[in-house]
């Protein structure tokens, strides 16, 4: 992916840029809001990382200007504050996802990957498939190799979220946000227990586990099979 980073703190910018380059992405950095907007409108980026507080033009204004100009490049916004209000403002302002500093690099990378190829809600197919698993979003049914599997509503949403991003890591916090709508991390292992129940239901009678645990990062559902 071609990724634009607009971040005024040189250390953070370098930290992100180096990490993304290691993952094989092309990275362009900018340390100023106006300069960043100039690069962004120039086009050709698959995703952007924009800091909320920037010299010249702040991140929120940058995203608003970009959206007003019809540019729909996915934006992941970063903020240094605890961000209860900032999060709402950022998402309302046109950002696609939001990450509070400090963050682990794996978290940022996972979120960027999820943004990069996110289909618009209207274009989403009614059936998701991953290997031998088929999930029907309309009828809310799941089958594995043709066998019907009964899931609790949250387990269904959890599986759907993994299957929307086949082969890509979904972090704990991403799952908490998307499945439970929590923007905080409970101490209780909610994600783990739900995943383990989902796994045992999916794998009953099968040898292979389609869900992979990526240590220190999150979970992913294997693409293909």
């Amino acid at each position: 992916m071609r990724i634009l980073i607009v971040e005024d703190d040189a250390d953070t910018s370098q930290f992100i840029a180096r990490g993304l380059a290691e993952l094989g992405h092309q990275v362009v950095t900018s340390g100023d809001g106006r300069d960043g907007l100039f690069h962004a409108t120039d086009g050709g980026f698959d995703a952007m990382v924009v800091d909320r507080m920037l010299p010249g033009l702040d991140g929120l204004a940058l995203v608003k200007a970009l959206r007003a100009a019809g540019n729909m490049t996915p934006v992941l916004m970063l903020t240094a504050v605890s961000g209860i209000v900032d999060r709402v403002e950022g998402l309302e302002g046109g950002a696609d996802d939001y990450l509070v500093k400090p963050f682990a690099f794996t978290e940022l990378a996972a979120r960027l990957h999820a943004l990069g190829r996110r289909p618009s809600a209207a274009a989403e197919p009614a059936r998701l498939t991953a290997g031998d698993i088929v999930l029907d979003l309309h009828r809310r049914t799941v089958t594995r190799a043709g066998h019907k599997i009964a899931l609790q509503p949250r387990e269904f949403t959890l599986l759907a979220e993994l299957m929307r991003n086949p082969g890509r890591i979904m972090t704990r916090t991403m799952l908490l946000e998307r499945v439970w709508d929590f923007d905080f991390d409970p101490k209780t292992n909610i994600v783990e227990t739900h995943l383990s129940r989902l796994r045992s239901k999916l794998n009953a009678g099968f040898d292979s586990d389609p869900i992979e645990t990526v240590r220190g990062a999150g979970y992913l559902i294997k693409d293909g099979g």
């Binding site: 504050v81 605890s82 961000g83 209860i84 209000v85 709402v88 509070v100 400090p102 682990a104 949250r154 439970w180 709508d181 929590f182 923007d183 905080f184 409970p186 101490k187 209780t188 292992n189 909610i190 783990e192 227990t193 739900h194 129940r197």
Partner: protein
């Protein structure tokens, strides 16, 4: 002092001068009215007397002259004087020593002589047949004396008002300045650094005491907030020292370690310590943000029943696998203005606490009900609970019950709960017997 009239002295003095001027105006009007009434009365008396003389002397000037003589002989008319003259201005009768005006009618200030003294009379001249003219006059001394007394009286009153007013202004000015000076001194002392100073009260319960009491309460509140802030920052410093020390130890170990695998382990431990520290910071910032009430601007109607049910269901599998029982009693359809995510977090923190600090087999209950005053949420357990003395302290940052010191955590969960409940204009209480319970009323 450029605008001296804005001061207390100026204001009271202005009011006093205003009153004095009003006295002057009232005096002038009263004077004029009384004066006119007295003159009319005098004119009336003269007119009646003239008519009486003419009536008595029916047959012309001879009769009138006779009537005058009779009256003067009787000397019963001390205040009235008469003079009858013929066409050639020769006196015919009457002892009033004055020039009879040639034209008939009233003359207000007619000079005359009495006992060799110049005096002033009010007079009426009437033409009689044959060119005779009759003059009846009354001395004005009574009116003049009245006028003089009146003027004196009112000038005296004016002067007294002015003196009293200026005196009052001076006194009020001194008293006000003295009372304000006490507040001023207190403020100056506080500015200079003596934060314990308070405005002294006189105990009279007057307006100054009222202001002083309010100011003192404000100062107490500020002092309380500052004390709280001092406490929090010293708590933060104290509670972060331990993880920072552990972080340093891990890094030291990594530097000393030759075995690459063990070195990596030490670095991972250091990274995890750093992560925990950052977590504490973001929890503190989040509490501060909630306490700052900025989230209130985004409040929307929240279906609290649905939020509570959702969070309870999210926790159920984990609670069950850790050997806890989760019992819910949720009244449906209870809504309130709020921030859904914050309310989720409030409930999450309470359930986290219950799951972490109670042994296996404990029953955790969530009850949401509507009460006469609003909505009541209770999250309680039948676990070992906490000491009664500890309970109210647990809403403070970094507060941890003695029993929970060995379990992981930073003592910020309940502080966050308290902040969220307060942001939603609610009241949170801890019920520590039996087990442990937190009640929130909105």
């Amino acid at each position: 002092m450029k605008r001296w009239w804005r001061g207390t002295f100026g204001l009271v003095a202005a009011v006093a001068v205003g009153f004095a001027l009003a006295t002057l105006v009232i005096g002038a009007v009263a004077f004029e009215t009384t004066h006119e009434a007295l003159e009319l009365q005098l004119d009336h008396r003269i007119a009646i007397e003239t008519q009486a003389l003419i009536d008595e002397g029916q047959d012309g000037h001879e009769g009138v002259a006779a009537a005058i003589r009779r009256r003067e002989a009787a000397s019963s008319t001390a205040s009235l004087g008469y003079r009858l003259v013929d066409a050639q201005n020769r006196p015919v009768a009457g002892s009033l020593d004055a020039t009879v005006p040639s034209k008939p009618g009233y003359v207000e200030l007619l000079p005359y002589k009495a006992n060799g003294e110049e005096r002033i009379a009010q007079s009426l001249t009437t033409a009689l047949p044959g060119g005779y003219r009759l003059l009846v006059g009354a001395d004005r001394a009574a009116i003049d004396e009245m006028d003089n007394r009146f003027i004196l009286l009112f000038l005296g009153a004016f002067g007294a008002m002015l003196l009293l007013g200026i005196g009052a202004a001076w006194l009020v000015g001194i008293v006000t300045r003295r009372r304000l000076a006490r507040i001023d001194h207190t403020a100056a002392a506080i500015i200079a650094g003596d934060l314990s100073r308070r405005v002294p009260l006189t105990g009279s319960g007057d307006e100054f005491d009222g202001v002083a009491t309010t100011l003192n309460r404000m100062l107490d509140r500020i002092a309380g907030l500052m004390e709280n802030l001092r406490q929090v920052s010293s708590d933060v410093a104290h509670d972060l020292r331990t993880p920072l020390t552990r972080l340093q130890n891990c890094l030291d170990e990594a530097l000393r370690e030759r075995n690459p695998e063990l070195q990596r382990e030490a670095i991972e431990a250091a990274a995890s310590e750093a992560g925990e520290l950052l977590e504490v910071f973001s929890a503190l910032l989040r509490i501060a943000e909630v306490e700052g009430l900025a989230a209130r601007a985004h409040f929307q109607t929240v279906d609290l029943s649905a939020v509570v049910a959702d969070v309870a269901e999210a926790f159920r599998p984990s609670m069950e696998s850790s050997g806890h029982q989760l019992v819910t009693s949720i009244a449906p359809g209870l809504t309130m203005p709020g921030d859904r995510r914050l309310l989720q977090q409030m409930l999450t923190n309470l359930l986290d606490n219950a799951a972490q600090h109670t042994p296996q087999g404990t029953t955790v209950s969530i009850a949401l009900e509507s009460t006469r005053n609003g909505i009541r949420l209770a999250v309680s357990d039948n676990g070992p609970g906490v000491g009664e003395m500890e309970a109210p302290e647990l809403f403070k940052r970094f507060a941890r019950a003695d029993r929970s010191r060995s379990t992981p955590g930073h003592g910020l969960g309940l502080a966050m709960v308290a902040a969220i409940v307060a942001a939603h204009s609610g009241r949170a209480t801890i019920d520590s017997r039996p087990g442990f319970g937190v009640h929130a009323e909105f």
